[in-house]
Symmetry: D2
Subunit: 148 residues, 4 copies
């Protein structure tokens, strides 16, 4: 469950993101699509494509790592004041089973949040089976703090 006391501070962000499918950047390479987004909880999916696999035939772990990093920050935006931004400062991921096709679905939940940082957990399922678990920290910054 996500932290219980989170409030939506940026509802337009949700309107903007819901259903959005990235078409550039590393999230575009993966084909990430935002399926659900509410206070403290985000669901993102992508379809495993041939270009995500290694020569072994399994998905490159870097795809799951990038997915987790992406969700770690994104889940914070609705509960941050507009104009803020989030940067992952650290995370850890365990890969639980090889993925070779189908859909990967990440559920990110804010576990704890202060004004300046949050700890987020992520569960990734591949066709209904747990494929990865991640846990990490995001720093919340205001626009003027960009390089702090």
């Amino acid at each position: 469950m996500a932290a219980p006391d989170l409030e939506i501070l940026h509802p337009k962000f949700i309107d903007h993101l819901l259903g959005h499918r990235s078409d550039s950047g590393i999230d575009g390479f993966l084909g990430l699509q935002v399926m659900e987004l509410e206070a403290g909880r985000l669901v993102v999916e992508f379809e495993v494509l041939d270009d995500h696999l290694t020569f072994i035939g399994n998905m490159h772990g870097g795809c799951l790592a990038a997915l987790c990093d992406h969700c770690l920050g994104l889940v914070l935006y609705p509960v941050m004041p507009p104009g803020s931004w989030a940067a992952t400062t650290e995370f850890k991921v365990n890969y639980l089973r090889p993925v070779s096709g189908g859909v990967c679905r990440a559920v990110a939940e804010i576990q704890s949040m202060t004004r300046r940082s949050a700890v987020v957990t992520i569960r990734v399922e591949n066709d209904g089976r747990l494929a990865a678990l991640a846990q990490g920290t995001c720093t919340v910054k205001l626009a003027e703090e960009k390089d702090g």
Copy 2:
């Protein structure tokens, strides 16, 4: 320093990889190039491109995470018996400063290795300044153990 007692078991892999620049997969998206590869140590570089940045103007953390995951496995191949393969089972990364351009250079070192797994650390520099640190575990598998 890398673990002191590692031996090259697969010299052809080094010949094949040295200087190689990925042109497909997530490593191709990043543009990873193998600069150095020896027993227990790997250096990989890529140039930060616009498509690696987020809307904030900094590189997406997922690019560094994918880089680390990639190096974690790759550094093992020269010291595994030919026909084996390596799969990251877990890793952790700390991002130390924002990256917005230039070259990222990852140095991966095997810290400890048994017949079945290895612990690897990675230092990523961006234009000479430390940008990320990672530490993780790879499992070594023989071809017939692919889905174990």
Copy 3:
């Protein structure tokens, strides 16, 4: 939730541990007591004592880290064949708020388990508020594999 398909293979271990309060070792230093133990799920508690605090007045993070390490292994015993043992191979912990007294309660859950290893998550609450989150890997070994 814990992995759904775990079976009790060592019921005597549960009978033996339930209610047990450690009186030696680092678990004895902490005063860990097993409150619940079932297939894939363990609850351990201890009371925060003055000797657990640092000169700042907050609990030493090492106490929570040791608690997490302890639970990571212990939760496996009921679902391993008798005679096996579990050794933590790696874990990561995030501290979410300072602890200065009261009771710490850790809930450990096996998220994924093969014949040879398991990934476990741990939530630590202090007087009802989330104080730490951990995630790690345990290796399962048979008695004869002790130093493998």
Copy 4:
């Protein structure tokens, strides 16, 4: 190597700690002794005692985890303004080989430090062989920010 640009801001702390052997708290349970302390680098040792072992005969992983947590904070004190304090916010540890006796020696190095936080790595050797690797984050706080 530690971050290159660190300056001693609290030399008395070094004078006070060098050679000090903890006799209370979890560091006292372990018997930690500060062997070296300079800008960005700390060496701590302890002797493995019977009370540090589990029923298997190997050292409890929690002892190494607590050692790492302890060093993560301690290494910061000489380079923080007097009156500040350091709190580990997260770390990750990999155990590389079982420890059953002898001396454990941890070398902690600050890899990166801002005014408000630092990333630290730790190598633990047991009788000259690498036994654990850790990496984590400490938050720097001034006395008045204790519960922030």
